[in-house]
Structures are given as C-alpha cells and as structure tokens.
C-alpha cells in the first residue's frame, strides 16, 4: 500500500536510476536548501546509500555563513564529493546586486555554473527544482535538454510521456534532470519530517523570524514566523497565503524575471 509520499519517492528514484544509466559524467547541483537536501536523500535511496556523482555548489560568496558550515558538515557525513564552483573573474571585478539583481544572478550563478560544467565536462546535472515554485518551472520536462549555449528552448520542448524520457542527444547538448519536479513545497516538508532529514538551521525560527527559501544574503529575506520545528513549519505552510519565493528579490525584478533567467540557464 503506497501513500502519496511513497509514490513521489519511488518516482524520483526511478528518474535517478534512469539518468544514471543513460548518461556519463553527471553531477548534482547542491544549493544547500531543503529541496536539494531532500534530493540527496532520494539519491542515496536510489543507489543504496551512495551518491555516485559529485555535488556541485555554485558559491556566489554572498551566502550566509550558516549555510556554508552546514554544507561542509553534511558533505562529510554523506561521504560526498563536493565541488565548489565560483565565477572568480566576476567576483574580482566586483559583481554584486547593486549592479542589478538579474545581472548579478546571471553572472554569479548562471555563469558560475557554466564555468564549473565546462571545467569538469559534466554532460548532465540533477537539479532540485519543483513545478509549484514558479510559472516557468511548471513548464519543465523531467529530462530537459539545453543547447551548447546553455539555452532552454521552452517554446519547443520534446514530448515526454509514460516515464519515457528523451535520452539521445547531440554531442554538444547538456541535459538537466529534475528528480523532484512533481513535488510540492508541502510534500518536501512532510517528507523531511517522515524521513528525519537534517536541514540547514536557517529554516527554523529564531527571534520571530525564519527563512522559507534560502539564497544569497542581499536578495533573500526571512519571513515573520515562530515555527522552530519541522512540525510547526508544516502547520504554518497549511495556512500561508504567500508564495514560497516571495522573499527572493530577484524574482520581483520584472514580470518575467525568472523565465528570462531560466531561458539562459539559471536553475
């Protein structure tokens, strides 16, 4: 007898195993947030306790110190191969949100990611995005091809049905794999609770505030909340009427900010 979380878990495991079989040289993007932490737990289920590919964290140097400390501790616990990528040139040239949030995101995150992929020759990336996060993510495929310039042809995506994913590509294509695309924010928290997954402490309320979504310091704000445990967060989510990424300033830059960022390779 499978419940809804079991179904989601099995679907994610199936996707992981399918991608691992089909592509050489994969990596998993690790953003330190609850979604990618949940994704790692699912990967360990898929591969009987292992993470048989490196974790890539794109560090913008604007992350909260608690995030970095948590990242390094967990990577050790999981026995993971952690690769930290940075767009050093842009950082040295003084890139920051004051140059424009979208410009900054593209330079430090999208370009940072592009550099680390080029350097290591990864053919595909696992990403913990979900359809319920935001409109352009809702349109994603589970296996999403990107061209050599990293661009997403969202107007002409290949069909994907019955767990038959597109797995044959030109040599210069880059593939993004989304194992938790069909999960909702609430599903993720209920799963964290059920599986007792340890997540970054910034999610838990301190002095009446907590983070609902983790990102860079200048662009991510906490919400007012007293939820200091997973149970309380789940209760809170059931009553919240604001979107998850309301605290992320880059999304609010203009009406199609996320679509524009993502078409160029943003996560």
């Amino acid at each position: 007898m499978l419940d809804h979380l079991d179904e989601l878990e099995n679907q994610s495991i199936y996707i992981f195993r399918e991608a691992y079989r089909k592509f050489e040289n994969l990596a998993m993007l690790y953003s330190i947030g609850k979604d990618s932490t949940t994704m790692i737990h699912l990967a360990r289920k898929a591969f009987f306790g292992r993470i048989p590919f490196p974790l890539v964290h794109v560090d913008t140097t604007y992350k909260y110190p608690e995030m970095i400390a948590y990242r390094d501790r967990m990577a050790g616990e999981w026995e993971a191969n952690l690769i930290v990528g940075k767009n050093e040139e842009a950082i040295k040239a003084g890139m920051g949100p004051e140059k424009g949030r979208l410009v900054c995101c593209e330079a430090l995150k999208t370009q940072g990611l592009s550099k680390v992929i080029d350097e290591h020759g990864y053919k595909g990336l696992f990403l913990g995005i979900r359809r319920d996060e935001e409109g352009s993510r809702a349109k994603e495929r589970v296996f999403s091809p990107r061209d050599k310039n990293f661009e997403w042809a969202y107007k002409d995506q290949p069909p994907e049905l019955w767990d038959q994913f597109n797995t044959s590509f030109r040599e210069d294509t880059h593939i993004r794999i989304h194992p938790i695309l069909g999960w909702t924010e609430l599903n993720v928290w209920e799963y964290i609770q059920r599986e007792k997954i340890e997540i970054c402490p910034l999610y838990f309320a301190r002095e009446g505030k907590r983070f609902r979504s983790l990102g860079c310091m200048p662009c991510t704000g906490p919400i007012i909340s007293d939820a200091d445990s997973v149970e309380k967060i789940i209760e809170e989510l059931k009553t919240l009427r604001t979107p998850e990424r309301a605290g992320r300033a880059q999304d609010q830059e203009n009406a199609y900010a996320m679509q524009k960022l993502r078409a160029k390779g943003y996560m």
């Binding site: 499978l2 349109k139 069909p159 049905l161 597109n166 044959s168 009427r241």
Partner: protein, 519 residues
C-alpha cells in the same frame, strides 16, 4: 490495491473553449490562489486594460500572455475538502499537440471542455481521441460558456448530443456531462441557480466522486530490469515493480532470455529484511542463482511470463515534423527496453480529428495523424497488449534524436506462437457484493488454470463462482477446469456477455483439505 491521495486531472479541449479560465476558476473557488499572485495578475490586467484574466495563472510565459495562448503544459495544485489535485493544463492549439500529450499521459482523469455555442471542433475531437489512446477512462464533459447562450438547456442538449455521438465509437463513456460557465462560476464549485434544469453534480463534486484506486498490485508480477549495480561486490538488479507483487523465495523467469531462478532478497536502503514488495515500488533484487541479464528483460513469476514478441500490431500517434515512414527503422522504447523496430505496414492512416480513414496501406503518417501499424522487431522483447497490461503495452518511438510519437499495442505476435499461460485462480478471484467472480474478459491468449484450495473450499461451502468470459473461445479451458475438478457448471447469457456459473453438486467427491494447488 494502491491508494493514491492525489488525483491528477488533465483539462483538454479546443483552443479558446476556456481551459485556462476553468482552471483559474477552480483555483479561485477552492481558495488556492495565493493573494500575492492574485494581486499581481490583477495589476497586470489593469495595465493591459482588461478585466481579470484567470488564464494568467497558468499561462506564465511572456509569449503566452502576449498572444493569449497556452504553449506548453503546466502543472498546478489545488485542494478540495476531500483530497489534493494536480491540474495538468494542456494546450489546445494543433501545433502544440505534443505538449498536450505530454501533459495528458500522466493523468488519472480528464475534463473535456466544450464551448456550448461553438460545439464540437477539430481539437475537441482530436483530444478526445488522444484520451482514448492514452487509456484515460474517467472523463467529465464540461459544456462551457453557457452564459453566452442565456443558459439555454436546448444549447446544452445539442452540444451534449454532438459530443456523445463522437465519443461513443471511441469507447469513451463520460461519467458526467455538466453545463457550466467558467467565467461566471456556474456549476464549478456549486450551482449559482442559473441552470435550474440541471440536477447533476458540479465540477468539483464530480471530481471528488472519481476513484483514485488502481488495481496494479492485483495484476501479474512484472519487473522490467532498469539497471544492474555491483556496488557491494554482488549483483543487484534495480527496477520498479510495474504490476503485481513478489516475495522472497518466489520462482521467477526473465523474458525474453527465459532464465529461471528464485528471489533471494528484496533490497532498499536502510530497510533490512524486506519479505514482499508490490506495484509502484523501486527495489533491488538478488537471486538464488548467478544470472546475467541485461536492462530491458522483464521478470515475471514462472508460468505467468509475457510472450516474447517479435512483431507488434499497434495504434500510433505521430507528433514529429518529419513523417513516420513505412520501411524505415525506429528506436522503440517500451518500459526499460529499447529495440530497433521496422515499420512494415501502415494498415490504416487516419485524420486524428475526424477519425476518417485517409488511406489504407499508406506510405507515411504526417504530424498529428494517427494510424494502425505493424512493427517488426530486430530482437524479441517482453511486451503485452495494452488491454492486458498497460505498463508493458505502451511505447514511444524515437525519430532521430527525440521522441516523435507513441502508441499502444493491440496485438503481440511471436514466431514461436503464443505460449500457454498458467493462471492462478486466486489472482483473478474477486468477491463482489453480488457473489464470487473470476473475470477473464481482459485476458488474451491460451490459458490453463492453477486450482487453489481457497477456490475449491468456496465451492465446497456451497458458494457459486461466476466466470465472466471474453468470448466463447474461452469456454473450452473453463469447461475442462470443471471436468477435472468434478464441478458442475451452467451457462449464463446476458446481452453480449458470455459467462459460466460453477457450483459443486451435493454428491460430489470430497475436496482436498489442504496441500499444494492442483493443476
């Protein structure tokens, strides 16, 4: 039985018949729109000088809003008191058919939306046909925009007759036909009193009435090998149980290689000592004997394996811009197997909207067309008809580098002929409120029965068992079953159905009290 909490519904229909508006209305009426989103759209619409556009909730891409069309499928979520729903929005435009199919393929149920004034149009018919090919059986027909027709019962009736006449030959029997206005909200969450002549449920009530129970665990065991891992110095066969269930110690066989062995362990991370697993579960299996089989082979219980097929008769839909051509070879992907398949005949080529046969023994199928075709496979694979086992009865075709179309299997052919299946009576025996039944109506091919003590003891108690047959060709093996077990039987004929009732006569020989099943 696997019980899902969430029901996935796809909303299909012709362009501009109101799909996005209906979805927006469902969100609104169930209180699922975050306030910030609502205000954001209100603001955007004000700037564009139009009234609140529910469609913007789903059509998130800039091009979609500018041109007022849905380009790609999207998924969103809402909740009723009964359960959560995933809504799959499917584009109505013909050129986005591949996106519509991508969305619809994963749905449990569908709402087929129809503009009551315009009536049945090209995409209404094409989408209805795709629903039938995708095997979606729970369908609501919603006749929309009745506010534009003064909520006229006559308009509703005309549109209903029209769509029913088209759905009937496709084998789609809608569960509900509901008169609605998505923009005004009539019969979405509840009746606003504008259609007093309609007494049926609202859209939300109808959805809540749908079942989300699938009986995949009650079917024969099928485990397509997805990969083989040697992480801990031994071979673990990874895969998902598509249907049925398996326990440690069960005798199993791989198709097409025919290798036999028994299950030694069922493995999951951090879950020691699993004895049994069922449909939907991703597991690792190890076996009593050293077996070396590849991804794509399908594990089944010994005696209940699928036929190794080297020829398939199928219905296909074609989505790619390059035509599907007779004589060409395609990569056919079915469960975890990939095989080169040559298209040897297009028996019928038809327009997927009007369903008119354009041509018999055609040379090619153009984009959005459908056909009945025959594939010859380069090597045998485990395949089944869609009716028998949907998980092994559907496939996609790769055209060059991308998925260009898909289809469902109507008939499996094999050079060796169809093997005889050994069917355990317990697996098919169901006790319904009106008595015990063995349903053989979706069983194809030759069969022998494995008699079980449970089956015999039912009859010994004086119970009767009804065998529902697919057609009269199944009478032979059923009669033999009665003969070999000293049972009485009698025919029952109702309309088109053939059935046989089994009973035990008073003077019959004693039933074996226990022990092994008797064949």
């Amino acid at each position: 039985m696997s019980q899902k909490d969430t029901l996935k519904i796809v909303i299909v229909g012709h362009v501009d018949h109101g799909k996005s508006t209906l979805i927006g209305r469902l969100f609104f009426d169930t209180g699922s729109i975050p306030e910030v989103r609502y205000r954001e759209i209100e603001e955007l619409c004000k700037r564009q000088g139009r009234s609140f556009e529910f469609a913007y909730l789903m059509d998130a891409l800039e091009e979609e809003r500018d041109q007022n069309v849905t380009i790609d499928t999207a998924q969103t979520f809402f909740k009723t008191k009964k359960r959560p729903y995933v809504i799959i929005d499917a584009p109505g435009h013909r050129e986005f058919l591949k996106n519509m199919i991508t969305g619809a393929a994963s749905a449990d149920a569908a709402i087929l939306l129809l503009d009551g004034v315009e009536g049945v149009r090209e995409q209404t018919r094409r989408h209805a046909y795709m629903l039938s090919l995708l095997g979606i059986r729970q369908v609501i027909v919603a006749v929309n925009k009745l506010d534009m027709a003064g909520y006229s019962q006559r308009v509703f009736q005309a549109a209903s007759n029209d769509i029913l006449a088209f759905l009937h030959p496709l084998g789609i029997v809608p569960s509900y036909i509901i008169p609605i206005s998505a923009s005004e909200g009539e019969n979405i969450a509840k009746s606003l009193g504008k259609t007093p002549w309609y007494e049926g449920p609202s859209i939300l009530d109808a959805l809540d009435n749908f079942k989300n129970v699938r009986d995949e665990e009650g079917m024969d065991f099928r485990f397509p090998v997805q990969d083989v891992y040697k992480f801990d110095g031994y071979r673990r066969y990874a895969g998902r149980i598509e249907t049925g269930s398996i326990a440690v110690g069960d005798e199993v066989v791989f198709t097409p290689s025919g290798r036999r062995t028994a299950v030694k362990s069922i493995e999951k991370w951090q879950k020691p000592d699993i004895q049994k697993a069922g449909a939907g579960e991703c597991v690792g299996l190890t076996f009593e004997d050293e077996v070396f089989v590849e991804r794509g082979e399908v594990l089944a219980r010994y005696g209940l394996a699928p036929t190794p097929a080297d020829e398939l008769r199928a219905s296909v839909f074609w989505l790619s811009n390059n035509p599907l051509e007779k004589g060409k070879s395609y990569k056919l992907k079915l469960a975890t197997v990939e095989v080169d398949a040559t298209l040897v005949d297009i028996e019928e080529r038809f327009n997927s909207s009007s369903l008119e046969i354009i041509e018999r023994h055609a040379r090619q199928l153009e984009t959005t067309e459908a056909g009945n075709v025959i594939f010859s496979l380069k090597k045998p694979i485990a395949a089944e008809t869609y009716v028998e086992n949907a998980r092994l009865g559907r496939f996609v075709l790769e055209d060059g580098m991308i998925i260009g179309g898909g289809g469902i299997i109507r008939e499996v052919r094999s050079a060796e002929g169809t093997p005889v299946r050994l069917l355990s009576l317990d697996e098919r025996l169901a006790t319904e409120p009106d008595g015990n039944q063995v349903d053989l109506t979706n069983l194809y091919g030759e069969v022998k029965f494995a008699v079980t003590p449970h089956f015999l003891s039912l009859l010994a108690k004086g119970d009767r068992v009804l065998f529902r047959l697919r057609d009269a060709s199944q009478i032979g093996p059923v009669a033999l079953l009665a003969f070999e077990n000293n049972l009485g039987f009698t025919f029952r004929r109702e309309r088109d159905e053939v059935s046989v009732v089994f009973y035990r006569e008073k003077a019959a020989s004693p039933v074996p009290a226990s022990g092994e099943p008797v064949i």
